[in-house]
């Protein structure tokens, strides 16, 4: 393969000073928590409880619904108020079946015991990690146990903990690393055992000195030579999984492949901390750190929030909206999605909520035709030619889109940002991907049909030739025997 490279990317204003100025605080408790059953990648979880049932904090209330799925636990003690469709943030307020929990304010814990992880085999440890409802907290919410198991096909695995929080406005991982670095390092040690890996690199951006200092101290105290800290340039999207792996290990993840193909398992630092809370403190994944930011909210800060808390309550907890509030965005300023209202719960994927005002939102001028200036190609971290993808996208030329690598687009939005004609490129690519995916799937099933047809043809020929051979043999034997 040609020399691996980290190319493209943008230097963006971070907008994180205000949200990291104050220490982490727990969010104020709320009366009702809404927990969508499909808030993780894979099959939705299946409820274990019924309406009216009394539940405790940390009690499993839904079990995995398929091979790739996750457990769900109650963030508080109380009763199951309902199991019904509720507007969900990951469906942009379209309804999703959810367990609604009424908080009784007593905060009674479900009895679970800590796990002495180094006495377990890696398989047992992986299974237990799954039971904690742990999913990737970097935003992809992929069930961690499944990722760990599928990594077994790699050799000499190395663990990469992604603390390179590159998207502007989001600072939850930064706060986690500043204040809870020990938990991240403990999680790293658990994961190293679960993967039978010998190396762990915690990668952070070079503009987070407090996090770096805290992590270095925690690593030193852990006396574990397998874990190291690594700083990467703070260009966006340095924290993109593929870009980070290339920056840290100098290899490229093959197109259509996974990090395990280059013997790497990449997890978010928040996921590592969640593993620590479950294995060491018997606390399953029931809360996460959320950044509340933007010029449209009075107080910008990071909160430790129980899952299911309504976003409206978070805003209230931060002093409420300012008069300049214009739009609510879940996620960061580059890849975030606008939400139609704030009566939506915090889910495992909610890393940041931006109450954006006109100050935060870049005005978009009228869309002009592409002038082939090439700014987008220079900015693209996947080394694509977005202007060509644009031409072929609007012409719906699926063959050309495949040749030019549409499926390799990571949807980071760098091309959008630099386009002088203000073309919404990332949006177009996101729209074209399903058509191309469908065609690739059709090609895959055609290949499978070909294989089965060839196997059947071979089988029939074999049966026929065996039959003829048997007949010939019988003829020979009869010819030998005189009648």
């Amino acid at each position: 393969m040609a020399k691996p490279g980290v190319r493209g990317g943008l230097r963006l204003d971070a907008h994180k000073e205000r949200s990291t100025a104050q220490a982490l605080r727990a969010a104020s408790p709320v009366e009702t928590l809404v927990l969508p059953l499909d808030q993780h990648a894979g099959a939705p979880a299946v409820p274990l409880v019924k309406q009216g049932e009394r539940i405790l904090r940390g009690q499993p209330i839904a079990e995995p619904g398929g091979a790739i799925s996750s457990w769900l636990h109650s963030p508080t003690s109380g009763t199951v108020a309902a199991i019904e469709p509720r507007p969900a943030p990951h469906r942009l307020a379209a309804p999703s079946l959810s367990i609604v929990v009424a908080n009784d304010g007593r905060d009674e814990r479900y009895a679970e015991s800590a796990t002495p992880f180094d006495q377990l085999s890696p398989e047992q440890l992986r299974e237990i990690i799954g039971r904690g409802g742990i999913v990737g907290l970097g935003g992809a919410v992929f069930p961690t146990a499944a990722k760990l198991s599928s990594a077994l096909r790699g050799q000499d695995l190395r663990l990469l903990l992604n603390g390179a929080e590159c998207e502007p406005y989001i600072s939850c991982d930064d706060m986690l690393m500043r204040e809870r670095a020990r938990d991240v390092v403990f999680g790293a040690r658990v994961l190293l055992h679960a993967l039978t890996a010998q190396t762990c690199v915690i990668a952070i951006e070079d503009d987070t000195p407090q996090a770096a200092a805290a992590l270095e101290a925690a690593i030193a105290d852990a006396h574990d030579a397998r874990i190291q800290l690594r700083r990467v340039a703070s260009d966006y999207p340095a924290g993109g999984e593929r870009q980070l792996i290339t920056a840290v290990f100098d290899v490229e993840v093959p197109s259509g492949g996974l990090p395990v193909d280059v013997n790497t398992v990449c997890l978010n630092v928040g996921t590592a901390a969640a593993v620590a809370y479950w294995i060491r403190d018997a606390q399953p994944l029931t809360s996460r750190i959320v950044t509340v930011t933007g010029d449209g909210v009075l107080e910008q800060r990071n909160l430790d929030v129980p899952l299911g808390t309504p976003l409206a309550a978070l805003i209230y907890d931060c002093g409420g909206y300012t008069s300049r509030m214009s739009r609510l965005i879940m996620g960061g300023s580059m890849m975030g999605q606008a939400l139609p209202h704030d009566d939506l719960p915090v889910i495992k994927a909610t890393n940041c909520v931006i109450a954006a005002s006109a100050l935060d939102l870049q005005p978009r001028a009228a869309e002009m035709p592409c002038i082939r200036c090439g700014n987008c190609a220079e900015a693209c971290p996947a080394m694509l030619l977005p202007q060509q993808l644009h031409w072929y996208g609007i012409g719906r030329d699926l063959d050309a889109l495949e040749t030019y690598g549409l499926m390799d687009c990571i949807e980071c939005g760098c091309c959008d940002y630099v386009c002088p004609s203000q073309i919404p490129l990332a949006e177009l690519f996101r729209d074209m991907k399903p058509a191309l995916t469908e065609r690739l799937a059709a090609r895959g099933s055609a290949a499978a049909a070909r294989t089965r047809f060839d196997a059947r043809t071979a089988r029939l020929e074999r049966i026929e030739s065996e039959r003829l051979a048997a007949l010939a043999k019988k003829r020979q034997e009869l010819a030998k025997k005189p009648s």
Partner: protein
């Protein structure tokens, strides 16, 4: 005048000869061509093209014994792709070979009527029907290519085509 004319004719002849030489294929190239053609076909293995499967059709196309518009399951998109590959005039699928379905279809056995005769199992070109003599037969929908070869042999007409679910 004459020298110019001779030069032009000579150049044209030389270019034509070069082009003809370049498009000659060895046996290995011929096999590769058949592979390339086969890769464009939908692998339905239905036989509507009058050949016994997709690869025989590909082979006939490579030898110039068939036309590019004989594959209804591939539809017009496949016909155009074949035309582009083989340098022939693109044409829509010839309706004499069949019609292209609007949505992908898969076979479905009405289990209440099935008599377990295995005739459909023998007919399926991709072994997508599971069953045995006097046992229930069922179509594995994911593996059915929609070729409809199972429908004529069924003595009780219990197989229908349904739209494939996404």
């Amino acid at each position: 005048m004459l020298p110019a004319l001779l030069t032009m004719v000579g150049l044209a002849a030389a270019a034509g000869a070069a082009a003809a030489l370049a498009t000659r294929r060895s046996n290995e190239d011929q096999n590769r061509l058949i592979d390339e053609i086969d890769a464009l076909l939908p692998q339905t293995q239905c036989g509507r093209c009058t050949f016994s499967g997709c690869r025989p059709y590909a082979s006939a196309l490579a030898n110039g014994e068939a036309d590019i518009n004989q594959c209804p399951p591939g539809g017009n998109a496949t016909a155009v792709a074949l035309a582009n590959l083989l340098g022939r005039e693109p044409r829509p699928v010839d309706p004499r070979f069949g019609t292209t379905p609007a949505h992908p279809l898969v076979a479905s056995i009405d289990e209440s009527a099935c008599i377990g005769c295995v005739k459909c199992i023998q007919a399926c070109p991709v072994d997508a029907i599971v069953g045995a003599s006097k046992f229930m037969h069922t179509v594995i929908a994911d593996q059915c290519t929609g070729c409809e070869l199972c429908i004529p042999p069924c003595p009780v007409d219990c197989i229908v085509m349904r739209p494939a679910s996404a």
